[in-house]
Assembly symmetry: C2
């Protein structure tokens, strides 16, 4: 099934939340979990994983929490998804060249290869800066509507 896991979904929302913070400002799991409406204990584990992979830095103790290690414009949707789910692989035959013994005769193989490329390229083009900005614009529009 072609469906994003909750793990990746939550991680994306978490990173997006951090994208709004000033550089260096830490943010605790509870704040993120509450704001994004996700289970705190689960999110904590996901952020541990993001920390090990270098996307966020963690600080323990009072006033601790997480910060991004890169600027939002340098983090792509693809990276966060692959951090949580492993490399995107639309079909087993793409695990590595030669995994499927029929690679060179199978007419479906090149189709999956191309689909993979397009999908990944698109996701690679989506940065958290873009998304954060889009969010601000949307929030403004909503405000306008309400006051109008």
């Amino acid at each position: 099934m072609f469906r994003l896991s909750k793990a990746a979904e939550y991680a994306i929302r978490g990173v997006l939340h951090l994208s709004f913070k000033a550089e260096g400002e830490t943010c605790g799991i509870d704040e993120i979990a509450k704001a994004q409406g996700v289970p705190p204990a689960y999110l904590a584990k996901l952020f541990q994983s993001l920390a090990r992979k270098g996307f966020v830095r963690s600080f323990r103790g009072v006033e601790g929490g997480f910060i991004l290690t890169k600027r939002p414009k340098d983090i792509t949707l693809l990276e966060i998804i692959e951090a949580m789910e492993g490399r995107i692989c639309l079909n087993d035959c793409l695990i590595y060249a030669g995994y499927c013994p029929k690679d060179d005769v199978c007419p479906v193989h090149p189709v999956w290869k191309e689909a993979h490329k397009r999908f990944v390229d698109y996701l690679k083009g989506c940065t958290f800066e873009e998304m954060a900005n889009a969010s601000k614009v949307k929030a403004m529009r909503t405000k306008e509507k309400i006051s109008a």
Copy 2:
């Protein structure tokens, strides 16, 4: 996880196999299963489902088996995938408009909407005729290489 299920994979291979047959020529599960290297019992079940959904017609008894109800050029990869897995839905928020209460403020939503459109459009463009032809060309090239 963004991965094609075995069910869909096997169904695709099965339909592809039928695409090489002359119109009206039936082909049994065992032949398909053997040729494509997939578990016969499982494939049988998948073909039952394809029959119910109108992609193939079945004939019981001696010389029975399956035929395609449409010509390969009129069957797309997308159709077969969706027949086996249900509608492609890259993220829960795309289940239907309004499913996610944050649709109109969430900056990730439009990204998934676009990714979905691109993915589906590509798969919709892939017909079994194309794939069958590609297969023949590949087989020829292999032959040339061997005799050269």
